[in-house]
């Protein structure tokens, strides 16, 4: 584990050393390299900046500049400077979190941009350099200014969002912009924002009530139609009959009256048309849904356990999934849909608004259908090889990686032969719900859903960013190591950083050309 050694010699000139050896064997980046076995070289002050920790570290003889050690040429060539400095600069840092001794939470340390400006303007080179210079250094003594700044920005964001959401005509673009930087927890902001972003709620505030009522009504009808047990149908008929006949034979003893029924109407009937056989067709699916729901997020008491609360939640989710299966007989239910439903259901049921809380199921169902709308073909096996299927999406991911980092792409595809099918299948079909911790998933989905080009586009970018962030580890790993790493993606990575990289990924324009 690399140790970071902090030496603050002169006031205002705090330096950090990383203790890494350069190839002349001398301890790196201290102050002045004065003695070196190779012979006297020019006195160079190498200040440890993250930039130097790249694949080919400069030696003590390099005539490096004061503040930044230039990144190796090889890397610079591929990205445009901004991204280059981003990835090169922070790649190691992204990994360094694991072993670092920074006192702050890793998140706060690594925000390269002033809080509050995330995602708004990254094009400015000068801003970048400025940020590097003025980035707040870790200060063990005083209260960290960053956390204060962060909480201020959270408050600002919250009030911004609340203001936006209270408008009569909601500006979707503005909402998307704010949402992509992360929606603060609590207050039902996330639930409302997601509903708007998914198009469930119209942008005009006045129409909300009407729309919600309509949708919830529709859901109730669907449920009644498709999810009722056959025995309930029969009982309703019987009760109607009883009322009609004014017959009360409950008190009378004696042989019970028998009614003959047609051959289709009993539970053991083998006919296809009977309610019962249709009902039994789905028992297998119901069993599978049950099994999967038991395994959803076993660490969260919201979903797992035997409490009435979690049982209710699972019951509601089962209804949603079963309804979806019945309405889409070509896909039915595929293992994994429960994972996609889980964040939606969770977010909507933590909405403090009472009316919304009662109709969680209906809202979740509609939004689940919307979210799955683009990617539903990924679940269907027969579409695997088609243009909308999973294989084509995986190849788009591959192309995106190639455009952004050819070295890594080559290393993965050819040298180690780690094809996207081996790791990205789950990332893409399940919208990353199995790769990260639950809070991180919610944050990632904020960005996913607020992309003006659609969730799928951002999904591919995030997947590509995930690969880029692990670049050094991947480059140094073989097939087994890489596969292991990618299939169990480390979940202690800084999510904000990951999303920032994702936003800056240059799009794969070849795809757009082809589709014209």
């Amino acid at each position: 584990m690399r140790e970071t050694d902090r030496r603050s010699t002169r006031k205002g000139e705090e330096k950090r050393t990383c203790g890494k050896d350069y190839d002349c064997g001398e301890k790196a980046c201290g102050w002045w390299k004065q003695s070196c076995p190779k012979g006297p070289g020019p006195l160079v002050q190498i200040i440890c900046d993250e930039a130097h920790l790249t694949a080919a570290a400069p030696t003590c003889h390099s005539t490096s500049s004061k503040l930044k050690v230039p990144a190796p040429d090889k890397v610079r060539r591929i990205f445009h400077d901004q991204l280059g400095s981003l990835v090169v600069g922070f790649d190691e840092q992204g990994n360094q979190i694991e072993g670092s001794q920074f006192e702050l939470n890793s998140g706060e340390e690594l925000e390269p941009i002033q809080p509050g400006e995330l995602g708004f303007h990254r094009e400015n080179h000068d801003e970048n350099d400025k940020d590097h210079k003025v980035r707040p250094r870790p200060n063990t003594d005083s209260v960290t200014p960053i956390s204060v700044l962060k909480s201020i920005s959270e408050e600002e964001k919250r009030s911004d969002l609340e203001y936006e959401l209270s408008q009569r005509e909601i500006n979707l673009e503005k909402l998307q912009r704010i949402a992509s930087t992360g929606i603060p927890d609590g207050g039902g902001l996330r639930a409302t924002a997601w509903k708007l972003l998914l198009g469930y709620l119209p942008s005009s505030h006045d129409l909300w009530d009407k729309q919600l009522k309509e949708n919830r009504q529709k859901y109730a009808y669907l449920k009644e139609d498709l999810l009722r047990h056959p025995s309930e149908h029969i009982w309703n008929e019987y009760e109607e009959l009883c009322l009609a006949k004014q017959h009360v034979d409950y008190e009378v003893d004696g042989p019970l009256s028998r009614h003959e029924i047609s051959h289709e109407d009993h539970p053991l009937s083998l006919g296809k048309a009977s309610l019962w056989s249709q009902y039994f067709q789905y028992t297998e699916i119901i069993e599978q849904i049950d099994r999967d729901l038991q395994r959803t997020h076993p660490d969260l008491p919201f979903f797992s356990g035997e409490s009435a609360f979690s049982c209710n939640n699972r019951e509601a989710m089962k209804n949603i999934l079963l309804l979806f299966a019945k309405l889409n007989p070509e896909i039915r239910y595929v293992q994994g849909m429960n994972e996609v439903l889980a964040p939606i259901y969770y977010v909507f049921s933590t909405d403090p608004d009472k009316q919304n809380a009662e109709n969680v199921e209906a809202d979740s169902f509609s939004c689940f259908v919307r979210i799955l709308g683009d990617s539903v073909d990924h679940f269907c096996q027969k579409f695997d090889n088609s243009a909308s299927g999973i294989l084509s999406t995986l190849s788009r991911l591959s192309d995106l990686l190639k455009v952004n980092d050819e070295q890594l792409w080559r290393h993965l595809e050819f040298t180690t032969k780690v094809k996207p099918q081996f790791y990205a299948f789950r990332w893409i079909t399940l919208l990353l719900t199995q790769e990260f911790k639950f809070e991180s998933i919610l944050r990632i989905w904020d960005t996913l859903l607020s992309n003006p080009f659609g969730a799928q586009d951002m999904l591919l970018r995030i997947c590509c960013a995930m690969l880029l962030c692990m670049k050094s580890k991947l480059l140094s790993g073989d097939f087994v190591a890489n596969l292991k790493l990618l299939q169990r993606y480390p979940d202690d990575i800084n999510i904000e950083y990951l999303l920032q990289v994702a936003k800056d990924i240059s799009p794969d324009t070849s795809y757009y050309c082809l589709s014209l």
């Binding site: 309930e232 009982w235 028998r258 051959h263 009993h266 083998l270």
Partner: protein
């Protein structure tokens, strides 16, 4: 919605070779949650066959059963109903309602299922229901040779029961339905 299959008095292999084909084709695994069997199977092979239909199998001992370890009576609770099971040869006179009612009070159940007479009956008697599923193979009984194969499927849903009676008459399966609702003030309260 719980499906409970009630049958008995098969007398295989002594009095009948097997269940009627039409019945057998209807009884497929996966649909039924419980099976209650009044007795007189008589051999282990039938026990195994019933076990394949549903793992939750309850049997009481009939006088011709080769397995001696089955209990004389059994009670179980399904939904809001308490069911009692007994073969019925112990209750004398056979098939007498009052005597069966005595057994029902003794077992403290809402629905008593007995057999032995090989005739399907379903009575409401003194606050409870007595059901006799008849003989599933149509085997002759000590009383009569004229027996139609029959069995019963109960659909228990909370406080309501729908009883489906399957009878094989003249080679055709006839299905009848009986609805029954348990009143909340039940006589079989403790």
């Amino acid at each position: 919605m719980v499906l409970v299959l009630a049958l008995g008095d098969l007398h295989i292999p002594h009095r009948a070779p097997d269940l009627p084909a039409k019945f057998k084709s209807m009884l497929v695994p996966g649909k039924i949650q419980h099976i209650i069997c009044t007795g007189n199977l008589c051999i282990k092979e039938i026990h195994d066959y019933l076990k394949t239909l549903c793992p939750d199998l309850h049997i009481t001992r009939g006088e011709y059963d080769e397995e001696t370890k089955y209990p004389e009576t059994k009670t179980l609770t399904i939904g809001q109903f308490k069911l009692g099971l007994c073969h019925g040869h112990q209750v004398i006179p056979w098939g007498d309602l009052d005597s069966l009612a005595m057994l029902q009070r003794q077992l403290d159940v809402d629905i008593l299922v007995t057999g032995h007479t090989h005739q399907f009956t379903a009575y409401k008697h003194e606050g409870g229901v007595v059901i006799n599923p008849g003989s599933a193979t149509g085997a002759y009984s000590s009383i009569t040779y004229d027996v139609n194969p029959s069995f019963v499927l109960m659909d228990i849903d909370g406080l309501r029961v729908v009883v489906y009676v399957y009878e094989l008459i003249d080679g055709e399966v006839k299905v009848d339905k009986i609805d029954f609702k348990k009143t909340s003030t039940s006589h079989s309260a403790h």
